[in-house]
């Protein structure tokens, strides 16, 4: 029995060591990515609680597949991809809730945009318009303008062809210009 106990003891030590490593990695990942991921989720969803929840869920998912995750070539891209997928799921659920509520008359009245010249209000109006875009256009626009990602990078994250990204961005921009008008976007409405 003694050797067996010794083996069990060493496994416990090994497990504790792994936990410590994982904690260290988690801290490093938090410092490196937490703010940018929750910023992205918040801009996508307009819901701070949901944004924080989603980012925590993404880290939990990454931890549960730690062996794969820690070996991933680009852990940050992997985390971002999880956050993007979770945001899209959340948007789909919200859309279903909205449709169900519409049938039962339970949706709150939509807020009408109020245009004025104040810079912050302009940002709010642009943001509100972005969140009215269809899911795929919205995610392409936010990745492009908030995250400064190129079209091929967006295609990689969303696993869609680059041509589709281009068309989604083009349609998204056209819709924004139509909704917000030339004055607000500082150019010709497309």
């Amino acid at each position: 029995m003694r050797p067996r106990l010794a083996v069990v003891g060493s496994e416990v030590c090994l497990e504790a060591g792994r936990e410590r490593d994982r904690d260290r990695e988690l801290t490093a990942l938090f410092n490196q990515h937490y703010d940018s991921l929750r910023r992205f989720a918040y801009v996508m969803l307009r819901d701070s609680a949901a944004a924080e929840e989603i980012v925590m869920e993404a880290f939990a998912k990454a931890l549960s597949r730690w062996r794969l995750f820690s070996k991933a070539e680009h852990p940050s891209a992997y985390l971002r991809q999880i956050v993007v997928n979770l945001c899209r799921s959340k948007m789909r659920r919200k859309a279903i809730e909205y449709r169900v509520n519409a049938l039962t008359g339970g949706n709150p009245a939509e807020r009408k945009p109020e245009w004025d010249d104040d810079a912050h209000s302009v940002s709010m109006d642009v943001w509100e318009a972005v969140t009215r875009l269809p899911d795929r256009q919205r995610v392409c626009v936010v990745l492009r303008y908030l995250e400064d990602m190129t079209e091929p990078e967006i295609a990689e994250v969303l696993q869609i062809p680059v041509g589709t990204v281009k068309s989604q961005l083009s349609r998204g921009r056209a819709k924004l210009a139509g909704w917000l008008g030339a004055d607000l976007l500082g150019g010709e409405a497309k």
Binding site: F30, V43, K61, K71, H120, V122, V141, V142, L185, G186
Partner: protein, 364 residues
Amino acid sequence: VNEDERIERALKSIGDSYVRDNPANFPAFREGVLRRQRRRRWFQAGSAVALAGATVAIGLFFAQSAPLDNSEPVSPAGRNAARAITDTVKVGDTPGQINVGRNAIWVTSKSGTVTRIDPATKVPTHIPVDGIPTDLAVGGSGVWVANEGNLQRVPLTGDGKVTSYPIADSTRMHVSVAPGTVWVVAPGAGVFRFYPEDGTKEAFDAGPSPADIAVGDGILWALDLSGRIQGYDVRTGRTVGDAIDVPTGSGAEITLGSDALWYGVKGDSVFMRIDLVTNAKRSIRLPSDYVDMGVGQDEVWVLMEGTADAGSFAAADPATGRLEGDLHYVEGSPVDVAVGKQALWIVNATDDRAVRIQKDLLED
């Protein structure tokens, strides 16, 4: 200031304000993440118990009205496959795909090597290849390795010259071998037919955005990103039968075997058998997320996620797709499985090793 800059400025202003006004709180975040992780584990354990209960209940129900099936339902509790492992072989760093064929076992690794394992001695030979391999197929005059743009032929003996052929600019090419032809799908660029005899290639029209292909019996099956599978006659290029809708093409793969097309989605628990004659689909909800599949002579094996420290696998009934027998656990993070006559080979990303699992020992 143009339109693009205004959108960028607006979104960044909103996002930055949010981050500035809501400072990060690491202890709360850590607690939240760990709580979710615990919840996931409980949920998985609860699901396993519920599944076991439901399986027993359904089994008891049918036992009274129908003759017993030879196959037993998967036990979510699972069994450790360690006792069936007969060999462990070191392969290249961060292995990706494994395949069995032409009297050897072949493993790619992201460090840019293909490892040939001699099945008799289990001695590995590491063969350098260009770039990061994205797929591997064995057949014809060699072992075919795709990377980000090229198709490479590795000699079957493992000691000759590796020849590289440019195909298309694409990051995730997949390769499939048919008699006299090697087929390559390059997402974003299309499908290509490559002729090994003279090293030439030609484009093959297989729909707007093919993501994976499987070739057999003169038909090329193409799965596109929107989740549509269409068969094409490889001689005429004409479509064969109706398109088959599946949940998604993103992260999904298809394989031919046992008169069926098999469909799995990485990171999802969906697995599907599609009958090639009737196009009938049968979905199987896996006990864990799908990782990969291995198709052999009248047998199909599904590799899945398992626990935090182990992957799992089970056999699927080739006729119905239903998982049968025990769920087996294998330590580490298995990433791919290949099926040999007497053994399964599973490649593990945790310790960069391939393990040989003797099939008949799994049944003990």
